[in-house]
Point group: C2
Chain length 447, copies 2
């Protein structure tokens, strides 16, 4: 089955872009290959809430005809179904919004269109990108398992060859977690590096638009489109001499063997390649960040969902009703303390991380849970979302059940390009390891 990867649906966006720009490939060919894959697999994977093949192909044909060589010309991109799209409905995967159809594009979608992208369709999500109704999506690597939430369909579509790129959002762990479970690259950039305009707000202090891809280069390609640049370009070209740190975080005891093994293996691979790896110890104050994340998120949800709560009341799903009713009894003083702790730790983490080229940390506790009801936990993502730090999931390793397990590369705020570059180098090393005969995490080529 390895040959299937050479088919057009497995091209990365960067590969397809090169071929299209040289006239060796059309957008219609790429989009058609993705649609063929979708037709073959959708009954099982169910990544999309909306996909109209004719609408996708008509955009592809327009891209093939234009003289305007935008950076994403003709490249299909899936859109998480909490982002507005002027020509497709937006359901939030909520039973209450099945007829919702804002006739506008989210700022990010508008930007993709102006860069020449083909808006492929809407990707399934956990209700409101929070909780409640789960996506119908299954993990392409094991159909009896969750793809993770809340950007379930976005991660699965990219993992399954139904689109080379997809947008998602993260407030807790909704980009990095499904990327880890589905075995794809993804970035949650620095908070506010990309416009939040035009999607269902959960917690404005944390909501971050991110994206999924099958290579680190593709993550960088969308950074180009979104105008994300560090102050200086990364000055490393290979792992030799690079300075890494491992941060086990205050929740390390929740890491399962799959994740412990993945982190240990990364340390070994980085050292084998000539990099140094130190331990990055967080101050005791960081122990409060998981609680601070919960306090800020839920307090801000009481603003964000106030209109829905007024209109729908107890018809909303029970957990959301409990948050709206403030059953946890979070005070404004709690919220202010949480904001101020978060702000202090943001500055402090930047200091702690500054001596290193990148910081390695778990993406998830382990492999994707069985079933679709439990979409996994944001345990290892919350603190990075709160810290506004750029995070990239690096795929390539697998756990004892044969399912993907990612690792996160992070760093100081607005070092997105550095983090992507370091993640790409680590990813190459992991891929090389996985190809070795007898390696414990050998790629199984099940898809």
């Amino acid at each position: 089955m390895a040959g299937a990867r050479t088919h057009l649906q497995w091209l990365t966006a960067s590969e397809a872009r090169g071929l299209i720009s040289r006239g060796e490939l059309t957008s219609r060919e790429v989009v058609s290959a993705c649609l063929e894959r979708w037709r073959a697999r959708d009954g099982e994977v169910r990544a999309w809430t909306f996909l109209d093949p004719e609408l996708a192909l008509s955009q592809a044909d327009a891209a093939d005809k234009t003289d305007d060589a935008g950076p994403l010309r003709g490249i299909p991109v899936g859109i998480k179904d909490i982002l507005y799209t002027r020509d497709m409905p937006t359901s939030f995967n909520s039973p209450h919004f099945q007829d919702f159809f804002p006739r506008i594009d989210a700022a990010s979608v508008a930007l993709l269109r102006s860069a020449g992208a083909v808006i492929m369709g809407k990707c399934d999500t956990v209700e409101f990108a929070v909780n409640g109704r789960r996506a119908a999506t299954r993990n392409p690597h094991g159909l009896d398992r969750t793809p993770g939430g809340s950007s379930s369909g976005s991660a699965a579509a990219v993992a399954d060859g139904q689109a080379p790129l997809a947008l998602g959002t993260q407030t807790g762990g909704s980009v990095i977690r499904p990327a880890s479970y589905c075995g794809v690259y993804a970035i949650k950039p620095t908070w506010n590096a990309v416009s939040h305009e035009g999607f269902k707000v959960c917690a404005a202090s944390f909501d971050t638009l991110g994206w999924f891809a099958r290579s680190a280069d593709d993550l960088a390609l969308l950074c180009d489109a979104f105008n994300i640049h560090d102050d200086t370009a990364p000055n490393f070209v290979g792992l030799a001499g690079m300075r890494f740190a491992v941060c086990r975080t205050p929740v390390w005891e929740q890491a399962e063997p799959a994740t412990r093994d993945a982190i240990a293996l990364c340390i070994r691979l980085l050292r084998d390649a000539g990099g140094s790896v130190a331990e990055l110890e967080l101050d005791p104050e960081f122990d409060g960040l998981t609680q601070a994340h919960m306090t800020i998120m839920q307090s801000e949800m009481r603003s964000s969902f106030q209109a829905e709560y007024r209109q729908l009341g107890d018809a909303l799903y029970p957990e959301l009703v409990g948050i709206m009713a403030n059953e946890a009894g979070q005070s404004r003083a709690d919220l202010v303390r949480a904001h101020d702790l978060a702000a202090r730790c943001r500055a402090r983490f930047d200091e702690l991380a500054a001596p290193f080229d990148a910081v390695i940390t778990p993406s998830t506790a382990g492999e994707a849970p069985l079933g679709l009801e439990n979409t996994g936990a944001a345990t290892f993502n919350r603190i990075w979302t709160l810290l506004h730090a750029p995070c990239v999931n690096v795929p390539g390793l697998r756990g004892p059940a044969g399912m993907p397990v990612g690792v996160t590369v992070t760093g100081p705020r607005f070092r997105d390009r550095h983090v992507i570059a370091a993640a790409g180098l680590l990813g190459e090393q992991i891929a090389g390891y996985a190809r070795r005969p007898g390696s414990a995490t050998k790629e199984t080529a099940t898809i």
Copy 2:
């Protein structure tokens, strides 16, 4: 002309609400009175970009027929034309968005509707609520002067009796400044106390939805609708014994005589009423906040307006093009330093303000400038927007040109209700002073 104030268009929302709930007034009567005022004055004041009398009246009739006694049942509210409204166009007062019609409501507009409000129309704004094209609106107190920006139409409509309430937004000084110039109450609540969803984003770290009214009670009424509550209710009932501070801010030297006199008069009135007034000195670190505000706002605008910049390029207005091209050369390091300074000062201001019931500070440098081109400056508002502190403009005083000059009441984050209550007490004192024969700021009843 004083009798005109007894007409229905001059009812506050709280007064109209009481009469409607007791069956002594209909929404149609209130809306009709506002429409009558609009017809008489619109040729001069020009507060609205869109107003359809039939659409407003049909909502009034629906409110009069319903059994659902929402907190704003039948009360007309103007909406700044950067907020989405499902049944009215949204232009951002931009030449590039004259046909823009998102078929959705901003979260705040949806909440008003569910509270029973009549969405009266769209209020003119400075382009994108930033700069560029000015509102066509004139100051109702002096038609040769600006109403202030960017929430120009919202402030003018409320000041002129064309609606008792209007929504605006503030990123620099776009709520408090026009309120000061137009002589109305307004609140910029604590950041993120109200959902930002559904409007043109400028700078997500600062953008704050606020509202205009003709009484402090009306500001509180919308707090009810938006579910804004402090941890504890204000424990003061009159000015006697209250502890005030005056904060002259690092930009005090830019205060004109009108504002210096207004602050001095407030100190005297508060002391005469039995309150204490201390000076609140900010630490030297606060001197950097004006620059930090500019750095964060412009850096975030490069995300927020990226799609428009890609599509329109130099067709955008020149100042915005300069910001998009980062002519100021703001680095990511500058941005991070600005964020961290802002966060430290937020916590520090809360400490400094904690011993007081409220803090008094200028709303604007002085009276509204002549002409419509110069909408005034956010000089005295930037630091409070950056600090995320709740701010209320208190009207009632006038400067040497006879134009309104407001003062701001502020306090620690999430003390919105305390700030409104203190502002209401100060406002009563000012109104009593203005009614005295021979007072220097006697209300001139020009409208």
